[in-house]
Amino acid sequence: MPKRPADELPRGAMRAILLSLLADRPSHGYALVQALQKRTNGALTLKEGTLYPALHELEADGLIDASWETSPEGRKRRIYSLTPRGRKEAASWRDRWLAMADLLRDLLVVPHPKPAR
């Protein structure tokens, strides 16, 4: 039986994943957590303790913008969306990680042993 993927976010992938999720649609923090769990069937999770500092860092770097809205329950809620620079960065990160995935696949796939004569 294949091993389940790690339930911790891969190191260095946080920015790429957040930008990728926000490329789909503007979201607030909790919605991003749910979106990632849904897309990975629960294999990956975003910890609250790392999520919001990471979002604020992206905001400080000018890759995402934030605006306030009111949630259905009447609470103040912050919605994040990609800036034009953020869109370019998201595409760049996607290409880099996909290239890395291809490289690792070629490196780690064990060739089938040749049949004995």
């Binding site: 923090g29 919001y52 934030a66 329950e73």
Partner: protein, 235 residues
Amino acid sequence: MSFQSLRELQSFVRSLDAPEERREVVEAELLDHFFARIAEGASEAEALAAFGSQEALRIRFEPVERGFVLTRLDAVRDGARVGAAFFGASLCAAFVSGAYWSIWRQVWFAIDGGWHNRLAMEALDYAANFGSLTDGALQIGFAVAFLAWALRSRRWARGMRAEVGAPSLHFGVSSGLGLAAVLVFVPLLERIMGLVHLFTGFLGGELGIAIWTASSILLLLVGPIGARIAPRANA
């Protein structure tokens, strides 16, 4: 140690070493997240435990939130960017203008020395008027383009709090520092203008410096005004 109560979470946020505006943002987001989890069926203890250790949260939040404050060092760095941008703009404007007048003179000499063509001479007159009118505009156009590129991702334009005062004052300080940096290197610029003259035959080296000086003063005056429109430019 994780949070034991909502009050402890709120107290934690108030104790963060971060600007007041940022503490409000952090509190609103953490509370929204907490109540969203409760609405999904989690208990208060589970929702609080999801935030993890208080110390780890502080270590992650504080450097990021403090980064939203503009410091004097930011103003100095932006001043250097403004100075370098304006310097580059002056060079580009001088070369483009010099090349234009050099070509103009070549054509003038060719027409005047060879054959008389009234239409061609009139066209050259129009070209000369166009060149004179656009010399100053060229300098300012390059300056605006270089400045927009140099400052395209500056955080101060995103409504951030500044140690040196409001973002508009930050821009003014940066512009002033940039101008001061450029003025210090005027003798160097004169040598460069001499090189421009050498390569392009442009006789107006002194004119170029005069245009540059006037544009520098204009830049210093519009600096604080520029900060007002910068948030829209960065949107």
